[in-house]
Every structure is written in C-alpha cells, then in structure tokens.
C-alpha cells in the first residue's frame, strides 16, 4: 500500500541511483576499420558532463589537424579517430581506455582532458605500452610520475601558475592575493603552485576558497570576500563557472582590475558575463587568436579553417587539440604505421613541429612550454595582450 513515507524513501533511493548512473555511463565509439594503411587513434574526451564544451572545442581542433594530415600527407598512413566519452569521471575514463585498447586495438590515444581522469588512465597506458597524448590534464603529479607513455600537448599547471604569479606580483604589485578555485585536481594543483610561488615571492594569502565543479551561484563567496583585505584575486575556473563568478564578484563590488584568471575563454566571458563585468580583468593564456602580432602562419591558417567550419574563433582548447593532432600525425608519419612503440620512438625523436604557438618541441617532461601571454579585457570586452612571460 502506498504511503507518503514509502514514497519519500523510494524517491531518495532513486536520487541515489541517479547519481550512481550519472557516474557510470559509457561512451559510444565505433570499431576500427582495420583497413590496410589506416591507423586508428583513440580519443578520450569528456563529450558529456560539465566539460562537454571544452571537449567539443578540443575535438574540433584535433579534427582539423587530422583532416589536414589525411589530405596532404601523401604516402603517410591515413589516421582514423575513434572517440570515447569519459564524462569527466575517472571510472568512465578507464572504461573508455579499455574499450579503445582491448576492442579497437588503437595505436595511441589523445586525451584525457581532466587531470583526475588522466591520473586513472595513465598507469594503464604505461602497463599496456599505449602512447597517451593528453590535452589539458595539467596537474603536476602526472609529469612527476615520469611515465614513458605519457605526453601532453600543453604545459602543466606549474609553468602557468609560476609565470602568472610572477606577473601579478612584479608587474601589478599584488602582495595579498586571494584564491578561488575549482575543487578538482586541476584547480587544487593550480592553487597549490600559485600559493607556493606567491609565498616564495614574499606575498601572503588573503583567502582561499574552493567550489565544486558546475557551481554558478557564487553569492555567498562574493559576500565573504567583501570584508577581506586583498590586492588581487586569482581565479581557476572553467567553462560556465567563470562568467557567473566574475559577474557576481563585480556585482558585490570587487573591481575587475583586481581579478586574474587562468586560461579563461574570452569569447565566453564577454558573451556570458558582459563587457561591463569583465573590463579590466587579467588572464593568462598561451594562445591569442585576436591579435596578428601573436599569430604565425600556422595559427593564421588554423584560425581561418576553424572559422570556416565553426563560425567562431578557436579557443585555447581548440589550439591544444590541434597541437595534439599535429603531434600524433607527425609521429604516425615518422613511424610509417600504427605500431605503438614506433609511434613513441617517433615522439621521442622530438622533431620540431610547426604549431599554433610557433615552432615547438617536446620538453624533457614530454610536454610543451609555449610562452604565456597576459591579456587584459578592454572596456568593450575584447582581450588585448599586454605582456608576454616565459621561463627565459
């Protein structure tokens, strides 16, 4: 017999079931053709979930590089991408990896994006001898593990955090800095390195606030900050979180000139937070598709192709995906096929590659370290590069 109490218990059970189901869903890749001369490359990106937009961008950039390879590299093996969705969760990432390696027998994998997913997948790739070219996955510990199969088409958090803190302390004169960061491997790692760098430079931490991924209501955070004494706020926020965060901070009276963000997508910031909220805010990024001064022939061609296909400028994520595609395409060409060890040997040859960041080679950590650009949003919301920092 139906009772409200029984109904309540059933609903609670279903809510639990829903949470579990959302964490356990699977992706939808297709089988490799297995045709002669075709190399299957797996892709593990968060095609659904909170980072789906990022994945879409990375895949768009990656696809351009692979299409370019397939159309122009006569004699080189054709590359076919097999895409799996990790939903930004480690368990699903592991399932995706197993599908690609056991069922599809891929030669290499591009991805994952999330550091915690990469942390779950990278040891398996090492055991199976599958080269993994992560895009994103910026957590420092991924490189510190010193795995032969782990490569990365971008710099780690370390470089970005150190160079950004160098800029805000030296150029902007910030001494008391507050941190607001996404409560993930990525956000915590950025916060930790930034904090250490700040303290080594004689600065102090004004406040330290974490938020769960997917948060859009930052009203209490904005109120809390109102009573604090700080010179600037460094924000590590992704996707749809960054715009409401900055908008609510400025509504609470925080000046945008006192906010700096890591790799925030400027188009999205302008569209979703509005020029008034972001004017004056700083951000650090290695990729600037807006200013000719910071583009080369490769990036110009990439931007043009991207705009033709998607009617918008590519984001940093698209640039990262494109570089990952160029790295794997070059390695497959050198290897002359899909042998995993041969592909790793080709990557390890470390030949220079013409990329959206200019001519670039892999570092000894098997990632890339393009110079970091510091941008500031103008009154109309457009980002202008005002500084360039590098380890040199």
């Amino acid at each position: 017999m139906w009772t409200r109490a029984r109904g309540t218990q059933l609903v609670a059970a279903a809510a639990g079931l829903a949470i579990t189901a959302s964490a356990c869903g699977g992706g939808g890749g297709t089988a490799a053709e297995g045709a002669e001369g075709v190399v299957s490359i797996g892709v593990i990106y968060p095609m659904s979930g909170p980072n789906a937009f990022v994945a879409e961008e990375m895949l768009n950039g990656l696809q351009i590089a692979i299409d370019e390879h397939n159309e122009t590299s006569a004699g080189a093996p054709e590359i076919k991408l097999l895409i799996e969705d990790d939903q930004s969760t480690a368990n699903t990432g592991v399932s995706a990896f197993q599908k690609l390696v056991d069922r599809d027998q891929v030669s290499a994998i591009v991805g994952p994006f999330n550091s915690d997913v990469a942390a779950a997948v990278a040891p398996l790739a090492e055991t199976e001898g599958v080269p993994l070219i992560a895009t994103g996955a910026t957590a420092t510990h991924l490189i510190e593990a010193d795995r032969k199969t782990f490569y990365r088409a971008n710099s780690g958090n370390g470089l970005q955090a150190v160079l950004t803190m160098q800029y805000v302390t030296e150029e902007l004169g910030w001494e008391r800095v507050g941190f607001i960061y996404q409560e993930t491997d990525w956000g915590e790692d950025l916060r930790n390195i930034s904090r250490t760098e700040l303290e080594e430079r004689g600065g102090t931490v004004a406040f330290d606030i974490a938020y769960p991924p997917g948060t859009t209501n930052f009203m209490t955070t904005a109120t809390k900050i109102g009573g604090q004494d700080y010179d600037g706020i460094v924000v590590a926020a992704l996707g749809g979180e960054a715009a409401p965060l900055v908008r609510q901070l400025t509504q609470a009276g925080v000046e945008a000139e006192r906010i700096a963000g890591y790799s925030i997508d400027p188009d999205q910031m302008l569209e979703n937070a509005g020029a008034e909220a972001i004017a004056g805010m700083y951000m650090s990024t290695p990729f600037d598709p807006w200013n000719d001064e910071f583009t080369n022939e490769v990036s110009k061609a990439f931007i043009e192709e991207y705009e033709g296909r998607h009617n918008s400028k590519p984001t940093l994520y698209a640039a990262q995906g494109n570089l990952a595609g160029k790295l794997i395409a070059q390695a497959v060409t050198i290897a002359g096929g899909g042998d995993r060890q041969a592909i790793m040997d080709a990557l390890d040859e470390n030949r220079p590659i013409e990329s959206v960041y200019g001519k670039i080679t892999l570092t000894e950590n098997q990632d890339v370290e393009p110079p970091l650009l510091i941008q500031q949003f103008q009154a109309d919301g457009t980002p202008v590069t005002i500084g360039r920092v590098s380890e040199d």
Partner: protein, 287 residues
C-alpha cells in the same frame, strides 16, 4: 552584522530559487503520485526556449518568457498521453526510470541543437543589483523571488478557488472516485503535467538569466529540487516553500561561515535526517 544580513538575504534569494525549481515536482507528485526525473531538464529546456526566441527570433525577454512557459507546459502536457499514461497503475519506480531516460534523451537533443557551450540569457532589467540599505540583491534574482511568490499564490488560488483546481484536488484524493464522478482523468492528468512543466519552464526562464545556461546543470537542479520536495513533504506546496527557503538559508550560512561548496552535502544531510525522524517531510501528511 552587515555581512550576516547579506548572507541571510543570499540564502532567501537562493531558497526562493529552490522553491521555484521544486514547484513542478510538488504538483506532479501531489496530484498524480508520479516522480518526474525529467524535471531538471525541463527547467533547462525552459531556459533554452527563452534563449532561442531571444537570440534567433530577436524577441524581447518578456514574450520569450511567456512563450517558454507556454511551450514547456505544452511539451510536458503531451508527455502524458504519449508516454506516461502507459504507466497508469504501475508502481512509482516505473515513472522514475521512464522520466530519467526521457531526461537523458532531451539533454542529448538540447546538446545536438545548441551544442555544449554555456550561454547567457540577457536580463531585461536595467540594473544589475537592487540595493536594500547596506545589503544588495541581484536584480534578476529579486525578480525571480517575486515570480516565485506570484506563482505559489496563483497555484494555491487555482487549486482552491477554481473548478479545475477542485477537479485536480479530487484527482489527488482518489482517482477512482474522481473518475466515477465524471472527472476526465486522462485529460486532467495531461493538464497537471502541463502545469508542472509550465512552472518548471518558468523557473528556468526566471532564474537562469542570473547564472549561465548549460544542459549539464539539469542534474544538479533535479537533485536540489527533489531534496526540497522530500524535506518539505512530498506533494505539499507550503512544505516546498518552507523547505526551499530553509535549505537556501542553511546553505548560505554554512557556505559563508563554515565551508564553501557544500550545497548538495547539506541538502542530502537534511534529507537523511528527515527520512530518519520525519519520513513524511516537514509539512507532509502521514497516510
């Protein structure tokens, strides 16, 4: 003291948002004893419909809001004859599973049409904030609070003062008896689904301009709405109001003075306590 007042106000505003999000679940359960797991995605759909009319058709916010409420309501009403009437007489689990699957399908369709990028719905209000002495409130959310109060008032009025409301209450009390007395159960069930959908669509179009529009936010919305409904008492409108506001205030105070980002933890802790000590909810009736 000002900070405390501001955090309390943040809590009330957030809580009113929870109430608005949960009204659709309350009405559907209260009348039809159906658990709608597609609720979160209907909330998001309301936002996307308003966004589509504003960005593609160039309509202003107000007509887009009206169209969003109307279309989400119609879509929800059609779900009953097409899908949900087949569940009549089945246990609660069937409606949960069906609507959960439906939510995933709608989310994929939304992503197919609009992509995964977050969007914003421009607020029609010229001011960003409303100053109330030393404290302030986001203007769009203040408007959503008023909208929430109006919708609660209209719902209670409609249920208690109209013929349709009388029939809906009869359906809620005893479906067989209502049918014997001439109530067209199928049509009325469809209307109830429509009302639930319209309320949810209204919530989306009212609240989302203050944040960002993303298909992925449906899950969190659904979870918070269910927590509010369970804590308040399944099917109780006043219970939903009390639970929504309480949850908003408690989360704001914990967020502001104890630990950030604990919304869902607090919601589920309250839910657990309610299940243990008052399973019918704060204002729910014992069957």
């Amino acid at each position: 003291m000002i900070e405390l007042a501001q955090q309390l106000l943040n809590g009330v505003v957030t809580g009113a948002g929870f109430v608005l999000m949960a009204l659709g679940v309350t009405i559907l359960f209260g009348v039809l004893k159906v658990i709608n797991f597609a609720h979160g995605i209907l909330y998001v759909l309301g936002g996307y419909i308003a966004f589509a009319f504003m960005s593609s058709a160039g309509l202003a916010y107000w007509p887009s809001l009206a169209l969003s409420i109307l279309l989400t309501g119609c879509f929800s009403a059609l779900l009953y004859p097409i899908l949900l009437r087949w569940l009549s007489g089945r246990d609660l689990g069937a409606s949960m599973i069906l609507t959960f699957g439906l939510a995933m399908i709608i989310e994929e369709v939304i992503r197919f049409i609009w992509g995964a990028a977050p969007y914003s719905i421009p607020s029609p209000l010229t001011a960003n904030t409303v100053q109330l002495g030393p404290v302030y409130v986001n203007a769009q959310l203040a408007f959503a609070v008023m909208g929430s109060a109006v919708l609660v008032g209209l719902l209670i009025l409609a249920l208690n003062k109209t013929r349709l409301g009388l029939q809906i209450r009869a359906l809620a009390e005893d479906q067989t008896m209502a049918e014997m007395l001439g109530v067209r159960v199928g049509l009325l069930s469809s209307v109830t689904w429509g009302i639930g959908g319209a309320l949810t669509g209204a919530a989306g179009a009212l609240i989302i301009p203050a944040y960002t529009l993303e298909s992925t936010s449906a899950f969190h919305t659904a979870i918070m709405a269910f927590a509010v409904v369970i804590v308040g008492g399944l099917g109780s409108i006043w219970g939903t109001v009390v639970a929504g506001l309480s949850l908003g205030i408690v989360t704001a105070l914990v967020d502001g003075y104890v630990l950030s980002g604990m919304n869902e933890v607090i919601a589920f802790t309250l839910l657990l306590l309610i299940l243990l000590f008052k399973p019918q909810g704060l204002l729910g009736r014992v069957a």
